[in-house]
């Protein structure tokens, strides 16, 4: 049973805001939400992580619903460089122990000029 569900793809025009949703209906209280993105011919790159409410950094913002079953990654004013596959990952919090993140198929964001 998949831990997360994302739309397979979405399109946006340059300059628009893009919101990528992720459903994690069985998220446990010990689990955090991570978002990564992968541009072609590169490995995935960390964007943002959160536990609840709202998190923002210089790249994106992350809104997590009150019941934590849904999160939305928001990318303001996308450019062609934001075209990538975006992965939502839910995993147990670790303290000093290795954890391996599980990457599903992600959401392919297509940016139109």
């Amino acid at each position: 049973l998949a831990k997360t569900t994302q739309p397979p793809s979405m399109e946006a025009y340059e300059g628009q805001e893009v919101n990528v949703s992720c459903s994690h209906t069985n998220i446990a209280t010990s689990e955090y939400i991570y978002w990564y993105r992968q541009v072609p011919h590169q490995g995935p790159q960390f964007i943002i992580q959160g536990y609840k409410d709202y998190v923002v950094n210089e790249v994106a913002s992350l809104f997590i619903s009150a019941d934590r079953k849904l999160s939305t990654l928001s990318l303001p004013w996308v450019s062609l460089r934001d075209a990538a596959v975006y992965y939502c990952i839910v995993t147990v919090l670790t303290r000093g122990f290795a954890s391996a993140l599980t990457f599903g198929s992600g959401t392919k964001v297509i940016v139109l000029p």
């Binding site: 590169q42 490995g43 995935p44 670790t94 303290r95 391996a100 990457f103 992600g106």
Partner: protein, 114 residues
């Protein structure tokens, strides 16, 4: 900042051949990982290592061996290359960041099996 270097970038081998992929990181991270990514798909964990000389199997370890002889390097061996394992192999390393972890990835080694 640091970097993860994977060599070679492209690896071509014959079916049944033993092939080795190498990964170096200068982050001084304790934990390193090997993932496999088939075309258009997500990443699947092959092996990871939490310290020098440690090895932990992932979901896809069958057909692969790994070696972590130094903290900075992590090698993956395809024991007998098959056409159905043509993919991009991604190495990563991680560090605890507060109470969370983030992974840093290399650019990958693309394996072609003839």
């Amino acid at each position: 900042g640091g970097i993860i270097t994977q060599t070679p970038k492209f690896l071509i081998g014959q079916e049944g051949q033993k092939l080795t992929l190498k990964c170096q990181q200068n982050f001084n991270h304790d934990t390193m990982y090997w993932y496999r990514q088939d075309s258009g798909k997500g990443l699947r964990l092959i092996y990871y290592s939490i310290t020098e000389n440690d090895l932990q199997k992932g979901d896809l370890s069958e057909g692969y061996d790994a070696s972590r002889e130094k903290k900075s390097s992590f090698s993956l061996t395809v024991t007998s290359a098959q056409k159905n394992e043509m993919a991009v192999f991604l190495c990563a390393s991680s560090t605890p960041w507060g109470d969370a972890e983030t992974l840093y990835f290399g650019s990958g080694t693309r394996l072609t099996v003839l």
